[in-house]
């Protein structure tokens, strides 16, 4: 299979869906000739023209709200918010309007819109351009939230999001845009709400999304050399959440580590831990469930501080090692 980048995969999904369905169109800041801040939409305006690849004014509330309004009338808008931090500016339209219309109106409306947005730290862009805000939106009934880690999923999940009849927020990680992976040329989708087991293991279940999946897999490689067998689950979707895959895995391993870039306090790790301890997996736990998450600080500019503010491979390795030391089975073996 051919390899393409995550950014190309997103671009292909947009192009193919626009070709497939004339109701699909794009709106965002600088997505036309500029190609978007990360070059994701580069060239699309040449094929689809400015009517379907709309450079908008610098107005996040209007972009998100206009997507909702157009969606109610049956269009399938895909809005780009240049950095996910700016979702806060369009949050009224997303949270109070788009998410609630269907329910508030007694099921009489559909809001088939997508908001795609680059998230995360690692680029030195500091506190207002580096956040991981997915938990904010996961909390809202009526919204779906996905955070793909691979080019394959970036394409497949975006296609599902565009075809979905609900508002879907797609968090794309800036550091992933240039990563490569296998992506088929033929049409496919990745279902929203299904996690993927990226690596099988028997000692610990590591649950992650987005770039933290890559770091968790690298950590699992290192831990394997020490005889610790790690199962890595890539959630892919945060809402709806694939509780079944998580619970099944933890029943097998008896230990769980949740990894996310967003700061720990009230991050989605808490939701995953809750899902585990409320389930039958609780009876299988050999150790407390652990969260490896960002520090509770705004993302700093200095590269050393920035690195220290979010989980790195070594933090995941350390958490897994310590978990193994704590658990009775390991102590018995030692």
């Amino acid at each position: 299979m051919r390899e393409i980048t995550y950014a190309q995969a997103v671009r292909e999904a947009l192009a193919e869906e626009m070709r497939r369905d004339e109701r699909v169109f794009l709106m965002g800041e600088d997505i036309g000739v500029y190609g978007g801040a990360f070059g994701v939409t580069l060239g699309l305006i040449d094929e689809f023209g400015p009517e379907r690849v709309m450079d908008t004014p610098l107005s996040e509330a209007a972009i998100i709200g206009a997507a909702a309004g157009a969606a109610v009338l049956g269009m399938r808008p895909v809005a780009e918010v240049q950095f996910s931090d700016f979702l806060t500016i369009g949050s009224d339209q997303l949270v109070n309007q788009a998410a609630k219309m269907r329910y508030m109106f007694g099921g009489k409306a559909r809001v088939p819109m997508v908001v795609r947005t680059p998230a995360g730290s690692g680029t030195g862009a500091a506190a207002q351009h580096s956040q991981s805000l997915e938990t904010w939106f996961m909390h809202i009934p009526g919204l779906k939230v996905v955070a793909p880690a691979t080019p394959y999923d970036a394409k497949g999940l975006l296609k599902s999001a565009i075809r979905d009849d609900n508002p879907v927020v797609v968090f794309e990680h800036k550091l992933l845009y240039k990563t490569k992976g296998q992506v088929p040329e033929e049409d496919y989708t990745v279902p929203i709400g299904k996690a993927a087991v990226r690596r099988e293991g028997i000692d610990i279940t590591v649950i992650a999304t987005s770039i933290m999946v890559l770091r968790s897999l690298a950590a699992a490689d290192r831990l394997a050399e020490e005889g610790i067998s790690v199962e890595v689950i890539d959630l892919r979707s945060l809402r709806p959440l694939d509780a079944e895959t998580i619970v099944k895995s933890v029943c097998k391993t008896g230990r769980a580590v949740v990894v996310h870039e967003a700061n720990k306090f009230a991050g989605f790790g808490g939701e995953i831990v809750g899902t585990i301890v409320e389930s039958e997996a609780f009876d299988y736990l050999d150790a407390p469930v652990v969260r490896v998450a960002g520090k509770d600080v705004p993302i700093p500019y200095n590269p050393h501080l920035e690195r220290a503010a979010v989980p790195q491979e070594e933090d995941i390795v350390a958490a897994c090692r310590s978990l193994m030391r704590q658990s009775p089975r390991w102590r018995a073996l030692a």
């Binding site: 800041e29 600088d30 036309g32 000739v33 500029y34 190609g35 450079d55 004014p57 610098l58 107005s59 509330a61 209007a62 931090d85 700016f86 500016i89 680029t123 030195g124 862009a125 500091a126 506190a127 207002q128 351009h129 520090k295 509770d296 600080v297 705004p298 700093p300 500019y301 200095n302 590269p303 050393h304 501080l305 220290a308 503010a309």
Partner: protein
């Protein structure tokens, strides 16, 4: 330009030392920005920044009107405002290098340089984000009765933000001592003003809030000064806000990564012909205030000053990661 500058020069009635100081401030901004670009290319500055090259007259002309204890709010393109407000160039450089002794202890970087004590309430990573803040600062000045004013800078792109509309209307309603300075450099990233704004006439907008609005040649430092003077006086008299548009142009890309696909080389060249520094320099020569030798000497002095700042920043310590979590709360 010579014409309008001369008229303004008569009206603003500034002593020669002040005019020379303004010229030097513009030079300091230009050279600072050029060195920042080089440092980035050399991998010694990371992250992102937005250069102010070509717009120097806007910050200097407007901020020169302020007293040292007045306030400004700035933008993502904020180095010029910061220097014009009297920031220490070594401390700015240290911040861009992420050093512990920089303005934000290396936590903020280019988009967040602030010096609250000295009246700079901060650059801003959010377009339009500073406009409500400036409005609140003006509200405090009014409540405190301290006679100070706030000068709020933002780009043409910010005119499309809801925050602009809400804050300006708010300030108009409460007659707050704030001057809104819209730096129209013709583009918001790749979006030309004519396509990103329903109306590019700022005076029409101002009128809609019941405020005076004035549009000036933003590459003519004295024209900016003159307009700002009137607006600041009005604010200090308690008569409320003014909106000023400074028409200018950014010479460089929007940020470090910009292929300039949305504009032509010819357009950029044409604006370079209207370099605000060269114009003001030859104007001062015409008045006999500066000689070409003076101008050369000043350039060399400023270059040396910036090199010293770079050396200073080099010698400064990085933040200690053990202190990462400090300072989130007061």
């Amino acid at each position: 330009m010579a014409e309008s500058t001369i008229i303004a020069a008569r009206r603003v009635d500034l002593p020669p030392e002040r005019l020379v100081h303004m010229y030097r401030q513009m030079l300091r901004i230009r050279h600072f920005e050029e060195q920042v670009d080089l440092l980035f290319q050399a991998g010694r500055i990371w992250g992102t920044f937005h250069l102010y090259i070509g717009q120097e007259a806007s910050a200097v002309g407007a901020i020169e009107v302020l007293e040292p204890d007045d306030y400004i709010t700035s933008t993502h393109r904020g180095h010029g405002h910061s220097i014009a407000k009297g920031a220490s160039i070594p401390l700015m450089m240290a911040e861009l290098r992420g050093k512990e002794t920089g303005y934000c202890r290396g936590r903020g970087g280019s988009m967040h340089i602030a010096d609250v004590e000295a009246g700079n309430l901060g650059a801003n990573g959010i377009v339009g984000g500073g406009i409500p803040i400036a409005t609140g600062a003006a509200l405090a000045c009014k409540k405190l009765g301290n006679g100070r004013v706030v000068m709020c800078f933002f780009g043409d792109g910010a005119l499309a933000q809801g925050a602009f509309h809400e804050a300006v209307n708010f300030a108009a309603v409460f007659k707050l001592p704030v001057v809104y300075v819209c730096e129209n450099n013709q583009y918001a990233m790749s979006m030309p003003v004519a396509r990103g704004l329903g109306s590019t006439d700022i005076t029409v907008r101002a009128a809609a809030y019941g405020l005076p609005g004035v549009s000036v040649d933003g590459n003519d430092v004295l024209a900016v000064y003159e307009a700002a003077k009137e607006a600041v006086n009005r604010a200090r008299r308690g008569e409320g806000p003014t909106i000023i548009e400074t028409r200018t142009y950014r010479w460089r890309g929007h940020s470090k990564s910009d292929a300039n696909r949305y504009r032509t080389k010819e357009e950029i060249e044409a604006w370079k012909q209207r370099c605000p520094i060269r114009r003001f320099g030859s104007f001062l020569e015409g008045l006999g205030i500066l000689t070409p030798v003076d101008r050369d000497r000043m350039e060399r002095e400023v270059e040396a000053e910036i090199q010293d700042a770079i050396a200073f920043a080099d010698s400064q310590p990085d933040p200690d990661p053990a202190q990462l979590a400090d300072g989130v709360y007061a």
